[in-house]
C-alpha cells in the first residue's frame, strides 16, 4: 500500500532521511520507531505532501506521491503530531470545514456518524479550546477519518496523553485497522508500538536499521534480558540470544539479578544505543 524507494531529505547539513526504503502492506498497522531526529516525522511529511524530498520515490496505493499529489490527498488521512484543530471553532465546525475541503459526500450525515463512532456527540457544539487533551486527540482522529481514507498517518498520536486516555486511543486505532485501513504510526512509546503494530521499523539517522514483527525483532536481537548492577554500581542490561546464555551471566552474579523476556524497548535500546556509542567513539 505504501512504497518508499531511496528517499533522501536534508535540512541544511543534517540528513533527515538517507536513502530510505520501506514497504507497508495493505491493512496493516506499521510502527515507525526511532529516537528524536531519526526521520519519522520527515517521512510522514513527505508522504502527506508537506515536504518535498531531494531524491527518491514514494507511492501510496500505486500512485506516485510526488507526481500526483492531489490524487494521493484524496485517499489519505493525517493525525499530526501537533494539535492543529481550529481552536476557536466548535468540534462540528472543524469537521465541517475539513469535510468540505475533502469533498466528503453527504457531509452532514457523515459528521453525525463519525461523532457517534468516536463518542463525541455531546461535544459537538463545544469550542475545541474548552476540551481536554484527550478529547482534542479524539477530534483529530475523527477529522482524519471523516473522508474515509484508505491510509492513515498517525504521527505520535498519543503524545502528552495520560495512560488511561492513551489506552482508549489504542482501542480506536485497533478499530481503524478492522475497517481495513492501512495505518502508519510513528511513536516514542515502545509499548504503544508493541500493543498496536503488526510490523515495526526502527529508524536511526534517516536509515532503517531494523524491520519486522515485534516478535521477529525480539528474536533477532535476543529473547532474554539479564539486568544487574556491576561492581562500579552501574546498571547493566544485557540482551541474550538464549535462556542458557542468560543463566550463565546471571549465575556469575551473587544477588540482585533479574532475568526476564525481552521486549521491544530492549530491541530499540540495543539497536539505537549501539549506534550512538559507535558515533561517540
Amino acid at each position: 500500500m505504501i512504497k518508499i524507494e531511496n528517499l533522501s531529505k536534508s535540512y541544511g547539513k543534517v540528513k533527515a532521511l538517507d536513502s530510505l526504503n520501506l514497504e507497508i502492506k495493505k491493512s496493516e498497522i506499521f510502527g515507525l520507531l526511532g529516537p528524536n531526529g531519526a526521520g519519522k516525522t520527515t517521512t510522514v511529511k513527505i508522504l502527506t505532501n508537506l515536504t518535498k524530498p531531494e531524491s527518491g520515490l514514494c507511492f501510496i496505493d500505486g500512485i506516485n506521491v510526488l507526481k500526483h499529489p492531489q490524487e494521493v490527498k484524496r485517499i489519505i488521512g493525517v493525525v499530526p503530531q501537533e494539535n492543529n484543530l481550529e481552536r476557536e471553532l466548535t468540534v462540528y465546525e472543524n469537521l465541517l470545514i475539513y469535510g468540505m475541503l475533502h469533498k466528503v459526500k453527504s457531509l452532514k450525515k457523515r459528521i453525525e456518524d463519525i461523532l457517534s463512532i468516536m463518542e463525541l456527540k455531546d461535544k459537538k457544539n463545544s469550542i475545541v479550546n474548552t476540551l481536554s487533551g484527550g478529547f482534542q486527540r479524539r477530534v483529530l482522529l475523527a477529522r482524519a477519518l471523516l473522508p474515509e481514507p484508505k491510509v492513515m498517518f498517525l504521527d505520535e498520536p498519543s503524545i502528552g496523553l495520560d495512560p488511561h486516555i492513551r489506552r482508549e486511543l489504542w482501542q480506536i486505532i485497533r478499530k481503524i485497522k478492522t475497517e481495513g485501513r492501512t495505518v502508519l504510526l510513528t511513536t516514542h512509546y515502545i509499548e504503544e508500538a508493541e500493543a498496536l503494530c503488526d510490523r515495526v521499523g526502527i529508524l536511526f539517522q534517516g536509515r532503517l536499521i531494523a524491520l519486522g514483527t515485534p516478535m521477529e525483532l525480539k528474536k533477532n536481537v535476543g529473547e532474554y534480558v539479564v539486568e544487574f548492577f556491576n561492581e562500579n554500581g552501574e546498571f547493566i542490561s544485557e540482551v541474550c540470544q538464549s535462556r542458557e546464555e542468560a543463566y550463565e551471566i546471571a549465575k556469575k552474579r551473587s544477588n540482585g539479578v533479574i532475568l526476564r523476556k525481552s521486549n521491544l524497548e530492549d530491541v530499540f535500546v540495543k539497536l539505537t544505543g549501539e549506534r550512538i556509542r559507535k558515533i561517540e567513539r
Binding site: K73, N84, I97, Y98
Partner: protein, 247 residues
Amino acid sequence: MLDWYPIFLKEMLQFKRKLLRLGYIFSAMMAPIIYLITFGLGLGRTVTLSGGVDYLTYLFPGLVAMSSMNNSYSWVASTLNLSRLYFKTFQIYIQAPINPFSIMIGEVLAGMVKGLFASLLILFVGFFLPSGFKINEIFVLALLLNCFMFACLGVITGMITKSHEDTATYSNFFILPMAFFSGTFFSLDRIPHVFKPFIYIMPLTHTNILIRKNFIDTEALLSLFAVLFYCFLFFVLGYLLIRKYNE
C-alpha cells in the same frame, strides 16, 4: 470550482466569533476615529485646500483607503503567519485535495471582507461628521481593489515571514510609511519632487488618487492601471508562494 469556500467559511466563522466580542469593533474603530478627530476636526480646521474643498472631505476617503489597507493586510498576514508557523492549521489546506489557487482565493476574499468591514465602520462614523464626502462608483471600485491588493500582499507576508515578530517588521517598513506618505493626510502636490518617484511606487498612492475622483480622467486611469498591476503582481506572487510550500 468552489474549493475556496471552506477556507473563506473558516475565516468568517472565526471573524463572527471575534465580532461578538464587543472590544473588537471598538478597537477596529479606534485608530480612524483618532485620526479623524486629530487631523480632521483638530489640525484640519487650519488647513485650506485648493478648490474650496474642506479638509474633512479630503481626509475622509483617504482614511477609508488606509483603514481598508491596514485591515485587509494585517488580518491576512497575521492569521496566515500564525496558522502556518504556530497553530499548523494552514497545513490542513496543503494536505487537502484542493489547488493552491483556491487557497489563495479563500484567504484573499476573507481579507477583503475584513477590510470592507473596517471601511464600513469608518463610513458609519463619517455619517455623523460635517463633511461634503459622497460615495460614488469610483470610490466603491477603488475600495474593492484596495482590499484585494492588500489582502494579496498579506498572503505574501504571511507566507514568507519566519516568525510572528517579522509580521510587525514588514508592517513597520511597508505599511506604516504608506499610510502616511501616500496622500492619505495631505495632497501629493505638497511632496518635494525628489521624493515623488518613491511616493508613486507605493500602491496606496494610486488608491488614494482613484478613491477621491468623481470621474475617470487621465490621472485616474493611470492610477487604476497601477492598482490593477499591483493586484495582479501580488496575487501571482502569493499564489506561487502557496504552490511552492515546502516545510
